[in-house]
């Protein structure tokens, strides 16, 4: 009898066991049905990216370089952010209003916590309040922190300039109305305030972290973002891990981010980065110019050998140019000379031959993608004839009597190639230049000290506003505190820019901006070169990677298909 019982029991167990194993099959069957619906983002996985230059410190007030911005933006957050269509959308601030265009009142979201960190009591991150906003903004204006972002508020916020000059202990224009409400009082209406607030420089940081880590605060970021810093070996790699307590949800009410984390390697060269991508060790990469033609066809589609990957392109909000220092004679005094130089440059040949078509010739200052971009602006199309005519007008027929100008460029294959080509082109008009290459940091130092008459520079917008481009021509905004490297000064221009930033109506703004641009172009303090096009190539399983002209993708929307 017992033996039978055993046999039955074991048979039952065996049947149950087998059934147990087949149940997943049912589940799978169910899944295969749901797969025909549009895919939902899957959680998990590490996104592998790389940066081309070193990230040294995440401290928002010290950061201007693209590499740090890209990574830091995942850790720290600002009141507002820019979405993929270049519009300002709420982030830490959930709404705002400005009844008179001079006082802006921001309502903060409730319940957003800083990351857990030993700098907080008990190690738990506390909620963000309006006090943190005031603290972060005043820190940005505090010269003792060696901030590079004081220009953001100096001329527009009440009391900011006095604070920066250490005449007052706090900034009158920043008010904590209550725990969740923050107000900014401006000296005069300034439309681009919102977009400026989206800059990484304006990130909200907790005073506890600054107090605890002091000089090492840059290596111990404590923010509110979708990722926390897990490992940071400068010049080697950065590992970000998912912030389990992140507050933001997607449209389906699922908490972001989807990824488990992000691994960012420091790979100093574009070529190496691309080769690692091809080897499958990176999920995203830039496409180096030398190999671009063999990867992307005329119609901006991937060629057959690369068709399994994904391509994302965007017209970068960037302008490349050579600065002509206006304080140096004869360039500074002689407008016809500057115009002659501009006419002598064959931008299309350079774009086609060296940049492999990855740019548009720059007729002016504003790149396409901004509402104020003027497609009808003529600028200086290539004309050797006009160049020679202008040279005559300038008093240097056929270039006789012209000194040899020194052009300083940063060392890099493309940069030097362009410089050599331009040197050649100018020679045909009778203008002789001498080339000097140096590291980028040194170039900036030299430009600040005005040690040469011509420098290669480029300007990449960190927020999508025409005003940012024009700040480079504002009187008094000279380096090192401002970006007016050309040291251009024109009161009519200043007036136009002022009108533009105070105009609340878009059409008015566009009118002022375009007039200002025409003025600058005809004065030619720059050699206008090109607007580059940015492109990224992605592995087939990468989804949710948004790429716009700012080239600062957000990882919180990225997910990996299995």
């Amino acid at each position: 009898m017992l033996r039978y019982a055993y046999t039955v029991a074991i048979s039952c167990l065996t049947v149950l066991f087998t059934l147990g194993f087949s149940i997943p099959n049912f589940a799978e069957a169910e899944e295969s049905v749901t797969q025909s619906r549009p895919e939902r983002p899957k959680h998990g996985g590490f996104f592998r990216d790389s940066v081309l230059s070193s990230v040294t410190s995440f401290d928002p007030v010290k950061t201007l370089d693209v590499a740090t911005l890209r990574v830091g933006q995942q850790i720290y957050q600002t009141l507002v952010e820019i979405d993929e269509h270049l519009n300002v959308v709420p982030l830490l601030a959930e709404s705002w209003e400005t009844p008179d265009n001079k006082r802006w009142v921001f309502r903060m979201r409730k319940g957003i916590r800083f990351h857990d960190d030993p700098c907080f009591p008990g190690g738990k991150g506390r909620c963000v309040t309006a006090h943190d906003v005031k603290y972060s903004f005043e820190r940005l204006m505090n010269p003792k922190t060696m901030t590079v972002g004081s220009w953001i508020f100096t001329d527009i916020v009440l009391g900011a300039k006095d604070y920066f000059e250490e005449k007052t202990k706090d900034i009158k224009g920043f008010t904590v109305v209550d725990e969740q409400t923050f107000a900014i009082d401006l000296i005069k209406p300034f439309y681009p305030l919102l977009t400026r607030l989206s800059l990484y420089l304006c990130a909200i940081v907790p005073r506890e972290a600054v107090g605890k880590y002091n000089q090492d605060f840059g290596q111990h970021p404590v923010g509110t973002g979708p990722f926390v810093l897990d490992k940071f070996v400068p010049d080697q790699e950065i590992i970000l891990k998912r912030n389990e307590k992140y507050w933001e949800k997607d449209l389906n009410h699922i908490f972001l981010p989807y990824l488990d984390g992000v691994k960012i390697r420091f790979i100093r060269e574009e070529m190496l980065q691309f080769k690692e991508f091809q080897a499958g060790n990176l999920d995203v990469s830039d496409i180096p110019t030398p190999v671009y033609p063999s990867i992307v066809g005329e119609t901006k589609e991937l060629k057959s050998a690369y068709s399994k990957y994904q391509l994302k392109t965007a017209a970068a909000l960037e302008v490349h140019y050579y600065v002509l220092i206006m304080t140096k004679d004869p360039l500074g005094q002689n407008r016809a000379l500057r115009q002659a130089i501009n006419f002598a440059i064959d931008k299309n040949a350079i774009i086609k031959g060296i940049l492999k078509g990855r740019a548009k010739p720059a007729s002016g200052v504003l790149p396409p993608g901004l509402p104020s971009y003027n497609p009808l602006l003529k600028g200086y199309p290539y004309s050797l004839e006009l160049a020679k005519k202008k040279l005559d007008e300038a008093g240097y027929p056929e270039g006789k009597g012209l000194p040899v100008f020194t052009l300083v460029v940063d060392s890099g294959t493309i940069s030097e190639a362009i410089a050599s080509a331009i040197q050649n082109q100018l020679m045909k008009a009778g203008i002789r230049i001498k080339l000097e290459t140096t590291q980028f940091n040194t170039l900036i130092e030299m430009a600040v000290k005005e040690t040469a008459p011509m420098f290669r520079l480029w300007f990449a917008a960190t927020y999508p506003e025409a005003e940012l481009f024009f700040v480079q021509f504002l009187s008094g905004y000279y380096p090192p505190l401002g970006f007016n490297f050309a040291r251009y000064s024109n009161s009519k221009f200043d007036e136009l820019l002022e009108n533009a930033t105070q105009a609340m109506d878009e059409q008015d703004r566009i009118r002022f901006y375009r007039e200002a641009e025409e003025l600058v172009v005809s004065d030619a303090p720059w050699i206008f070169l090109y607007y580059p096009e940015a492109a990224k190539i992605l592995q087939p399983n990468v989804m949710g990677y948004e790429f716009n002209g700012l080239q600062l993708p957000k990882y919180k929307y990225v997910w990996l298909k299995k």
């Binding site: 030398p290 086609k352 030097e416 050599s420 080509a421 050649n424 000097e436």
Partner: protein, 270 residues
């Protein structure tokens, strides 16, 4: 041993160097397109009849740039070694003449200190301080490289100091300076020159290395190191930009090494 193995290569090496020298002396304006002539329409074209070594990213002839690069490399090597020669021989003679006295000991100490710096490190540091440019680079290499020559010369002078002509010159009352530079110098020059020639290979390599890093020659001038650097991004698409200057660089260094060793052997036999 070494002799029989390498002897067969001495002549080809010498021939190569002579051709290189002749080529680099040739004024480049003879040819229709100079090495700096940009032709964007024809950039990155493969070697062909019209462009022997192909064109680079700006459409310039790689062949002409290799020739121009030869000139730069040879001038740089010559300049740097000349400086080393002057400093090294003078100090070597001085130290050797005052052998074992305090002057010698001091100089030996200084030489040991300089020798302690890895060569390229020192040159790089000085170049960083002085700034880029081919002449500054020559000076930088020159003032670091003299140690090797100085040591050898010192050894030579010490071995000569017991010889008849030196002792007799001293006893005749010639001043120290005159003995050093009137009598000893002519006799140690062959050794000095041998070391110099042996060092050419190293200097050419260093110049190329510096230009590779961007610290030597400035654009648009051509230097082999610079061309190799620029061409490295195009290795898969336009290999000729790096490979030709690289090949010439290797052959030049090789030839200098072969010839230098040959001189050394002949000297040893004397």
């Amino acid at each position: 041993m070494n002799e029989s193995s390498m002897r067969v290569f001495v002549l080809p090496a010498a021939v190569f160097l002579v051709i290189l020298l002749a080529g680099s002396l040739m004024p480049l304006t003879f040819v229709s397109q100079g090495p700096n002539e940009v032709d964007l329409a024809n950039s990155l074209s493969a070697p062909s009849m019209s462009a022997l070594f192909g064109t680079d990213e700006l459409g310039r002839s790689v062949f002409l740039r290799v020739v121009a690069g030869a000139r730069i490399s040879l001038i740089a090597a010559l300049g740097a070694q000349a400086i080393s020669f002057l400093i090294g021989t003078a100090i070597g003679i001085f130290a050797g003449y005052h052998k074992y006295q305090w002057q010698d000991k001091c100089l030996l100490y200084v030489m040991a200190c300089f020798h302690g710096f890895p060569f390229l490190l020192f040159v790089l540091a000085i170049t960083a301080a002085l700034g880029p440019g081919i002449y500054k680079m020559m000076v930088a290499i020159g003032i670091v490289n003299w140690v090797g020559i100085a040591r050898v010369i010192r050894g030579e002078v010490i071995s000569h100091s017991e010889r008849a002509y030196v002792i007799s010159a001293r006893s005749f009352g010639f001043s120290n300076f005159s003995v050093m530079f009137g009598h000893l110098l002519p006799n140690v020059i062959p050794v000095s020159l041998t070391v110099i020639v042996l060092g050419f290979g190293d200097v050419v390599a260093v110049e190329a290395g510096l230009s590779f890093l961007g610290l030597g020659v400035q654009p648009p001038d051509a230097s082999w190191g610079k061309m190799i650097f620029t061409g490295k991004d195009y290795l898969t698409t336009a290999w000729w930009i790096s490979v030709f200057p690289g090949a010439f660089l290797v052959m030049t260094i090789l030839s200098f090494n072969i010839i230098g060793e040959h001189f050394e052997r002949r000297l040893k036999r004397q």
